[in-house]
C-alpha cells in the first residue's frame, strides 16, 4: 500500500487496478456534498476507564440508537385506546377513595351522596371529552394545552399551560405510583411499611426503562389496560347482577376505617367531595396530544377513541361508586387499609381468590402505565419548551437511546422526592394534582373558543359553543378545587405555576439576548480579517512544552514574545540565558513578581501592551498561547496545570484576546530527540505549574 493506494495485477496482463484506501470510512459516511455523518465508532472511548464505563452504560441502557432508527408508529384504535387511555382510566382506581374520604367526614349519612357525586363528575367528563374531540379535529398535529394556549391566547397563557402541564405530569407519576403501591398493599399488607421504598424502586425501574428508550407501544402495553378493563367490568357486572338478585354482600369494614366524622353535610363538604373525585378526569387530554400517532384519518380515529375512553371511564367510575354505595363501603384511610377497589374486589370476587389478586395486579399495572405516559409526555414537553427557548437547551438533546434523558431524570427525581415528602400517601398528594389539570383544561378550552371564532370555519359557532361550555365548567371546577383544597396543598401549585412561568420567561430572555448579540445581519458579507495579530506565550521556564507552544505561536504571527512571570531573580537570569541560546529570534520578557502572584502581573502586562498600541490603528488581536502539559493518567491532573487553568479563567472574556492551548503529551518526545535539540543535555529546570 503506497499512499493509501494498493496496485493489483488482474488475470490478464493489461488488467491492472488500484484498490484505494478509504480513511474516513471507519468513522464517517458521506451523505451529501461536503456533508459527513459520524458513525458510532467516533464515540468509542480510548481509555480503559472509558471502556469500562461504556460497557456498564451499555448493560444498563442498551446500545446507542441513531436518529434514523426512530420510527413513528401509527396505532390502530384497538392499540391506541389502551396506550393513550391508561392515565385516564387508571384514575378510576383512586378517584372513588377521594370521594368516600371527603364524604366520610360528614358521617355515614354523607356517603349517600357518593353516587350523585359520581354522576356529576361523569357529566363533567362528558363535557370535557366532547370539548377535546374538537381539539383532535382542530390540531391533527397534536394539540397539547401548551400549543393550543400559546397559539390562541398568547405567550403568557401558553407558559401558564406549560407550567401546569409539567406539574400535572410530575403529579401523575407520584400519585399513580403511590396508588399502585396502595393496590399492592391492599393484597399484601406487609408492603405498607416499605411503601415509599417500593414506590421509589418502581420509579427507578421505569426511569431506566425510559432511558433505554421504552415506548408507549405494542401489545405489552395494551395487555394490562385490557386486563384491568375486563376485570373491572366483570366486577361491576357481577356486582350489579348480585345487587338485582339481592345476593350482594355488605362490604366488610376493615380495621383501618376511622370513626365516622361529625361534620354537617353542607355544600362545602359536597364541593370538597366533588373536587376530590374530579381527579378522575386527569389524563383525558392525552389522546388530543397524541393525534399524529393514530392511523389515518388521524383526527377522526382520535376523536372516536376519546369518546370510547370517556364512556369506559364513566361506566367504571359510576359503577364503582354505585357498588360502594349499595354495599355500604367505608374508606379505609388509616395505616395502610385496602383501597375502595380492593374492598369491592374482595367482597365480590372473594378475599384472596385468583380473580381478586388478578384485579389488584391489573390495577397496579395500569397505574404504572399511567406513570409511563408521563415519562413520555414530560420530556417531550420539556424538549418543545427548550426548542422554543423557554427551557435550557439540554432538555432538547436526546440521549444515546433517542430518549430525552434530562427530562426523564428530572421528572423521576421530583416525583421520587414527592413520594418521600408525602410518605407515599395518595390522599395527601391528590390536592396538588387536580389544580394543574384543570388549569390546562380551562386554558385549552378557552384557546379553542378563540380558535373557532378567529378561523370562522364551517360550524364555527356551535363548535365554539361546545368549547365555551367546557371552558366555563372547567373554570368553575378549577375555582372549586383551588378553594376547597387550598389549605390541603393546592396553594403550593398556585405558587409554583407563576414561579415556573417566571423561570420560563427568564430563560427565554437570556437566550433572546444572547441570540441578538450573536446574530449576523442577513445583508452582512464577512470580509477577511485585516487586524494586526500578536502572540504572547506565558511561560514558567524553558521546556519542550514551551518550545512547542512558541512554535505554534510563530505560525500565527511574527510579533511574538514569551512572558516569564517569576519571583526568583536567579532562575530568571538562568532561563534568559538558555532562552537566548536555544530559542533565538523570540523575545523573552521577564516580569518579576515580588508578591509571588502570576495571573495579576501577566494580565497587567497585557493591559500595558494594549495601551502602548498606536491609538490611530485598530486594536490588535492578542493570541495568548498557553503551553499545557497533558498528564498520562487521570489522577495526574491534580498535579499539573493548576496555574494554567487559573490563567485561562482570568483571560476568558478579555476583549480582543484569543486563548490557545497547546497540549504537550509526554508520550511524544521523539520529535525533540530526532531533531537532536536536546541530545546530550538534561532538560532544563522548569517549575511545573
Amino acid at each position: 500500500m503506497i499512499g493509501g493506494r494498493r496496485p493489483l495485477q488482474g488475470r490478464k496482463i493489461g488488467d491492472r487496478r488500484v484498490r484505494v484506501d478509504r480513511p474516513h470510512s471507519p468513522y464517517f459516511r458521506y451523505t451529501g456534498l461536503d456533508t459527513l455523518s459520524a458513525k458510532e465508532s467516533t464515540l468509542a472511548p480510548t481509555s480503559a476507564t472509558g471502556r469500562a464505563i461504556e460497557r456498564t452504560r451499555r448493560l444498563l441502557f442498551g446500545r446507542r440508537l441513531s436518529s434514523d432508527e426512530e420510527a413513528l408508529e401509527r396505532l390502530p384504535k384497538k392499540l391506541a385506546l389502551p396506550i393513550f387511555s391508561s392515565d385516564a382510566i387508571s384514575s378510576s382506581a383512586y378517584a372513588p377513595d377521594e370521594i368516600l374520604i371527603a364524604l366520610f367526614a360528614g358521617g355515614v349519612v354523607a356517603l349517600q351522596f357518593s353516587v350523585e357525586m359520581a354522576l356529576a363528575i361523569s357529566l363533567m367528563l362528558a363535557v370535557v371529552s366532547t370539548s377535546y374531540r374538537q381539539v383532535c379535529r382542530a390540531y391533527p398535529a397534536g394539540g397539547g394545552a401548551y400549543t393550543v394556549a400559546r397559539e390562541n391566547l398568547g405567550q403568557v397563557f401558553g407558559l401558564i399551560a406549560a407550567g401546569a402541564l409539567m406539574i400535572d405530569y410530575v403529579m401523575t407519576v407520584a400519585v399513580s405510583t403511590a396508588s399502585a403501591v396502595a393496590q399492592a398493599y391492599s393484597v399484601w399488607p406487609a408492603l405498607y411499611d416499605v411503601r415509599v421504598e417500593v414506590g421509589i424502586l418502581s420509579i427507578v425501574i421505569i426511569t431506566l426503562g425510559n432511558l433505554r428508550g421504552l415506548r408507549e407501544s405494542g401489545n405489552i402495553f395494551a395487555l394490562p389496560t385490557y386486563a384491568f378493563l375486563g376485570l373491572a367490568l366483570l366486577l361491576i357486572g357481577l356486582g350489579l347482577v348480585r345487587a338485582v338478585t339481592g345476593q350482594l354482600p355488605s362490604a366488610p369494614v376493615p380495621a383501618q376505617v376511622p370513626v365516622p366524622g361529625t361534620e354537617a353535610v353542607t355544600l362545602f363538604l359536597l364541593l370538597r367531595a366533588f373536587a376530590g373525585g374530579s381527579v378522575a378526569l386527569t389524563g383525558v387530554e392525552a389522546i388530543a396530544n397524541g393525534v399524529p400517532a393514530f392511523k389515518p384519518p388521524e383526527s377522526k380515529n382520535a376523536a372516536n377513541t376519546l369518546t370510547m375512553m370517556a364512556i369506559l371511564l364513566g361506566i367504571l367510575f359510576v359503577g364503582f361508586m354505585f357498588l360502594a354505595d349499595v354495599m355500604g363501603l367505608r374508606p379505609a384511610v388509616e395505616g395502610g387499609g385496602p383501597t375502595a377497589i380492593a374492598q369491592l374486589g374482595s367482597a365480590i370476587f372473594g378475599d384472596g381468590t385468583p380473580l381478586f389478586v388478578a384485579l389488584q395486579i391489573a390495577t397496579a399495572l395500569i397505574l404504572f402505565l399511567a406513570v409511563n405516559t408521563s415519562f413520555n409526555a414530560f420530556p417531550r414537553l420539556a424538549a418543545i419548551l427548550a426548542g422554543d427557548g423557554y427551557m435550557p437547551r439540554q432538555f432538547a438533546f436526546r440521549g444515546d437511546r433517542l430518549a430525552f434523558s434530562y427530562g426523564i431524570v428530572i421528572l423521576a427525581g421530583i416525583a421520587a422526592l414527592l413520594l418521600v415528602v408525602f410518605q407515599g400517601d395518595t390522599h395527601l398528594l391528590i390536592p396538588l394534582y387536580s389544580v394543574g389539570v384543570f388549569v390546562c383544561f380551562t386554558l385549552s378550552q378557552v384557546g379553542m373558543v378563540r380558535h373557532w371564532i378567529s378561523g370562522r370555519d364551517s360550524g364555527w359557532w356551535w363548535r365554539s359553543a361546545v368549547n365555551a361550555v367546557g371552558a366555563v365548567l372547567t373554570l368553575t371546577v378549577l375555582i372549586v378545587v383551588a378553594s376547597v383544597k387550598f389549605a390541603g396543598g393546592a396553594w403550593l401549585v398556585l405558587v409554583l405555576i407563576p414561579l415556573l412561568v417566571l423561570m420560563f420567561w427568564f430563560i427565554h430572555r437570556q437566550y433572546a439576548t444572547s441570540a441578538r448579540e450573536l446574530a449576523l445581519r442577513p445583508d452582512q458579507v464577512i470580509a477577511p480579517p485585516h487586524r494586526a495579530e500578536r502572540v504572547v506565550v506565558p511561560i514558567s521556564g524553558l521546556s519542550r512544552s514551551v518550545v512547542q507552544a512558541v512554535n505554534v505561536g510563530r505560525t500565527i504571527s511574527s510579533d511574538i514574545r514569551a512572558v516569564l512571570v517569576i519571583d526568583d531573580h536567579e532562575l530568571a537570569t538562568r532561563v534568559r540565558e538558555d532562552w537566548a541560546r536555544q530559542v533565538p529570534g523570540v523575545a523573552l520578557v521577564v516580569v518579576e513578581s515580588p508578591y509571588r502572584a502570576l495571573t495579576g502581573p501577566f494580565l497587567a502586562y497585557l493591559d500595558v501592551l494594549d495601551q502602548a498600541w498606536t491609538p490611530d490603528r485598530e486594536a490588535p488581536i492578542t493570541f495568548v498561547v498557553i503551553p499545557e502539559y497533558v498528564p498520562r493518567h487521570w489522577w495526574e491532573r491534580i498535579l499539573y496545570n493548576q496555574s494554567t487553568n487559573q490563567l485561562r479563567r482570568a483571560l476568558l472574556g478579555r476583549p480582543n484576546t484569543v486563548i490557545t492551548n497547546v497540549p504537550y503529551r509526554r508520550e511524544e518526545p521523539t520529535v525533540f530527540e530526532r531533531r537532536g535539540q536536546l541530545d546530550g543535555h538534561e532538560p532544563p529546570g522548569e517549575r511545573r505549574s
Binding site: G4, D15, R16, R17, V20, S25, Y30, L33
Partner: protein, 153 residues
C-alpha cells in the same frame, strides 16, 4: 425443528455504479445474505482514462465515489446487514469487477442493468455487463432497473 437455510452463496461481490440500480441490488443481496450470514463485498470502480496514471489520486478525492459506497453501507445497515465497501481505480470497469471477484473467491457476482428512457427506452447493456457475463468465474445475477410501466403499475 426448523431446517437451517441453505446458503445461496457464501461470498458475493456486488458492483455499484452510483446509479438507480444500486439500492435495489443492495436490498436484494443483503436480504438474501442475512439469514445465512453470507459475506457481501460492494465494489465501486472509478474508471481512469489514459491521460492519467492508473494510481493518480482520483477516487479518494472524489466525494461522489465515496458516497456510492457509503450509501450502500448505510442501506445495508438499515436492513440490519453488513457489507464491505471496496473502492477501486482501473482502466476497465468490467475487468476490475471480475478480478476482484476472482481474488475474493466470490461464488456470486451481482451487476445492475440500467434502463435508459431516451429514444423510446431500452436497457443500456453497455460493455461491462457482457464482459462480466463472459469472464466471471462464478454465477452472475443481473438486476435490471424496473421499466417505467412496472414503476407505475
Amino acid at each position: 425443528m426448523a431446517d437451517k437455510p441453505i446458503p445461496l452463496f457464501s461470498r458475493v461481490v456486488i458492483a455499484l455504479n452510483g446509479g438507480s440500480c444500486d439500492n435495489r441490488i443492495v436490498r436484494i443481496v443483503v436480504e438474501a445474505a442475512r439469514p445465512t450470514k453470507s459475506e457481501v463485498v460492494a465494489i465501486h470502480v472509478v474508471e481512469i482514462d489514459w491521460t492519467l496514471p492508473l494510481d493518480a489520486s482520483v477516487a479518494e478525492r472524489s466525494e461522489s465515489a465515496q458516497r456510492v459506497l457509503d450509501s450502500a453501507e448505510a442501506a445495508a445497515e438499515h436492513l440490519h446487514g453488513k457489507l464491505e465497501p471496496v473502492l477501486v481505480q482501473a482502466r476497465d470497469v468490467g475487468a476490475a469487477i471480475v478480478d476482484e471477484a476472482v481474488e475474493r473467491e466470490a461464488d456470486l457476482l451481482v451487476v445492475g442493468l440500467p434502463y435508459r428512457k431516451k429514444f423510446g427506452g431500452d436497457f443500456a447493456i453497455g460493455r461491462t455487463v457482457p464482459y462480466v457475463l463472459k469472464n466471471a468465474p462464478c454465477a452472475v445475477w443481473v438486476v435490471r432497473e424496473p421499466m417505467p410501466a412496472e414503476v407505475h403499475a
